[in-house]
Amino acid sequence: MLKKIYLLIIVLILPTKVSALIEVDITRGNLNPLPLAVSPLSIDDKSKKSFEKILNKENIGSEISIIVENNLRISGLFNPLSKDAFLQAPDIANLKPRFEDWNLIKAQALITGKVSYYDGKLRVEFRLWDVLAAKEMMALAFTTVPSNWRRVGHIISDKVYERLTGEKGYFDTRIIYVSEEGPKTQRIKKLAIMDQDGFNNKFLTLGNELVLTPRFNPTSQMVTYLSYFKNLPRVYLLDIETGTQEVVGDFPGMTFAPRFSPDGKKIIMSFANDGKSDIYTMDLENRIVERITNHPSIDTSPSYSPDGKYIAFNSDRSGYQQIYVMKSNGRNVKRISFGNGLYGTPVWSPRGDLIAFTKLHKGKFYIGVMRTDGSGERLLTENYYQEAPSWSPNGRVLIFYRETKTNAKGEGFSAKLWSIDLTGYNERLVETPTDASDPSWSSLLSN
């Protein structure tokens, strides 16, 4: 379904290894985002005309720079300055910036670049400059098919983020989620996928049957989700490139709450039978099903640690919903949530050190994080209803969904995606064409 995406890094000029002069600390809430200037990428007239014809965009150079600017702004760590204040023309700045000019408008970093049309392809080079030190920090060039132009903007954003923060970015990624429409009592739900910044939204199912909880395979373009196809709620596997799908396993009842193992080779999920829900895995290569928990309680929402050695899950074996951790073979079950209230939806951070969760306490819902032994609980956001956090691939941002109350007339209900930094700062609405829930963040598509 999706065109095979390829991307070549043809020039890779690594900066000489000096300690970076600009540093952005992302471990704390950043109240002073780094001021930087994203100069529109320069473009020659001939290339401009070619892209105008192919992509129907008047100036692809400025379009790409806008992607970079938006990504960096939304991260909350950077403050892209207004282009009105720029003194130097894009083409000249890319050759050799006049650092005094950029210093004057208080830019600490500068991004310049050049776009050209070459042999039917889009070639983009960009440079990151340290304005105060008056030197180049990074220079890269990408060549790809023109239709990949948005991805180039995201990859540049990731490179800049990584160079300035010391950690991988999360911009060249996608979100799979459930699109929602219609009255609350007869909600129509479809699988939908979009770029992390909300562009290229696409529906993957038609809405004929109820679908829930899609999750990305961390290593491929596969998705697992729950579908009520023929009124039989079962876990499905969907290849988003080919559109083929299949039921996972052969269970005589409802399977739900699926997630991939970190190596992408297994699906872990719940199977409900006789009022009990237990956790099972299925190996996608040899189709062998293994039972992981065996308890009269509800065991659900399993999530592997990134090394695959442990599983966090939700169980009410204590009487109420709490979070537990066990070895991946089901042994050594330990309860880790002991605060006031109910805990659900544990999701292990890709960095391995934290577990994100949903908490219900005194009629309010919270998204929070705790260490994997349950210590250091930190609540990031409180609301009337919110749940289902999913980590950005670098483990710095969480995306989740939030619902609003209906009023006495039954109006006012909405479901939207939101994101928040691990620091608890930078809470943002993620725009979607319809109402939305159950977001799942992909891995980085490139590098």
Partner: protein
């Protein structure tokens, strides 16, 4: 001494009466609004109830986070069992539901547990498990879209639906 004690007791009784009357009047106003609708947080009204046959309600209701059958639920299910025994050609699906105040995945399991509680009860009254299937909708199909305790109580339910 004794007199004072009696006097004190009378006073106490009097005050108690006053408090009680105050409560009673206050309660009466409230009761009018929710009378017959909820007991604890279990829905006891009939707004949303449909009937499989005369005197055979199609659904039972649950307390928050619970799957225990109330006395009223057991009565409803006995009526359903009697009707099913009489109509031995009819099979049913028990659709379990939860309210919107819980995480989606846990609610799917909870809906299944509620429908199974109803199934088990029907089975103890002689209905074969072959005739009953169970389907959980979690919080996906509320009957009342309200965001208030009464609406939630209507949504915490197991509904018996004819399968054929």
């Amino acid at each position: 001494m004794i007199l004072t004690k009696i006097f004190k007791n009378t006073l106490l009784v009097l005050t108690a009466c006053l408090v009680l009357t105050a409560c009673a009047t206050k309660k009466e106003v409230a009761i009018e609004k929710i009378q017959g609708q909820m007991q604890g947080d279990v829905y006891t009204g009939t707004d949303t109830v449909e009937y499989l046959a005369d005197g055979v309600p199609d659904r039972v209701f649950f307390a928050t986070n619970e799957s225990i059958l109330t006395t009223a639920s057991r009565e409803t299910l006995r009526a359903q069992a009697a009707w099913l025994r009489k109509n031995s050609n009819i099979n049913v699906v028990l659709e379990g539901h939860a309210d919107e105040r819980g995480t989606r995945e846990y609610n799917l399991a909870l809906g299944e547990r509620r429908a199974n509680a109803a199934k088990d009860y029907l089975m103890t009254y002689g209905i074969s498990s072959d005739r009953i299937s169970v389907l959980s909708y979690g919080k996906e199909r509320p009957v009342d879209s309200g965001s208030n305790p009464l609406a939630w109580s209507k949504n915490r339910r197991s509904v018996t639906v004819k399968a054929n």
